[in-house]
């Protein structure tokens, strides 16, 4: 009985190890972005190294911890943002929209 339990755990560990090796073999991309007020709106300009956007992955944008939005290019325009302080989080994801663990948060005050 105990042997089959150990076998199940062994299978799980091997699976996780294989997944980890697959992830480790890829270079980790880096991310930076600028925020700029444009009229009543906000422009997010993203620079990504180590990954081609949108061929190899996507950029997800969150305004004030709100719902997920996807930037289809490296420039993302929100046409109207309420005046005041805002927080923008940008996150890299793969083609299946799974987060790559690379994200950055910046703040801007819209006048």
């Amino acid at each position: 009985m105990r042997r089959s339990g150990f076998f199940m755990v062994f299978v799980l560990l091997v699976t996780l190890l294989a997944a980890g090796c697959r992830a480790a073999s890829k270079p980790v991309p880096t991310l930076d972005f600028t925020l700029e007020q444009e009229g009543e709106g906000l422009v997010v300009r993203v620079q990504v190294t180590g990954m081609q956007v949108p061929e190899q992955g996507h950029v997800h944008v969150y305004l004030d911890d709100g719902p997920e939005a996807m930037a289809y290019t490296t420039t993302y325009r929100i046409p109207k943002v309420a005046p005041g302080a805002h927080k923008v989080r940008v996150e890299l994801s793969d083609m299946q929209h799974r987060p790559l663990g690379v994200s950055l948060t910046k703040e801007i005050t819209i006048k």
Binding site: M1, R2, S4, G5, F6, M8, V9, V11, L12, T15, A19, P54, H58, H60, V61, L63, G66, P67, E68, A69, M70, A71, Y72, T73, Y76, R77, I78, P79, K80, S93, M95, Q96, H97, R98, P99
Partner: protein
């Protein structure tokens, strides 16, 4: 002891699959307007940002019926897709709007009246997984199910052997 290991395994598999399933959850909306036979579809995300660079089409259907041949819509300003519906009699139709952006297909359906002007009407676009993506979730689920069935069968056989030996 075996029950604990089995529980841990199933919980981990479920967690991995749920993480993969919940990873993708963004929404877009369309604002559809009609002027005569011209249809304009503005596509935007939850923050009002234009969904640009997509491939859009529109198909008409009798109210509640199946859509006919799709007419391609051409993107003008970013996120705005236009098309002309020719050879269609004026009247009420269901318009089925499809937009594909970077492999993600979204679809919305709304009632339109052709031959007259219809102000912009918002329609929620529902994401449809058009491109089958490989995911470890189902594989791990399958492995867990096979493992549990096999372990249960082995346990039942051994229990029966133990009972027989006891007798």
């Amino acid at each position: 002891m075996e029950r604990i290991w089995t529980g841990v395994l199933v919980a981990l598999v479920g967690l991995l699959a749920a993480t993969a399933a919940l990873a993708h959850s963004f929404a877009i909306v369309s604002a559809v307007s009609v002027s005569g036979s011209e249809v304009t579809v503005r596509v935007m995300d939850v923050y009002g940002a234009a969904v640009e660079g997509g491939t859009a089409s529109l198909a008409l259907a009798p109210p509640g019926g199946k859509p006919g041949k799709a007419v391609p819509l051409t993107e003008g300003p970013p996120g705005t897709y236009r098309g002309t519906l020719t050879g269609v009699n004026p009247g009420d139709y269901d318009a089925v709007v499809d937009i594909t952006v970077l492999g993600d297909l979204f679809r919305g359906r709304l009632r339109v009246e052709l031959g007259s002007s219809m102000a912009e009407t918002a329609v929620e676009m529902v994401g449809i997984d058009a491109t089958p993506h490989f995911s470890w979730g189902p594989v791990l689920y399958g492995a867990a199910v096979v493992l549990l069935i096999a372990a249960t069968a082995v346990a039942m056989v051994r229990r029966r052997q133990a009972v027989d030996e006891g007798e």
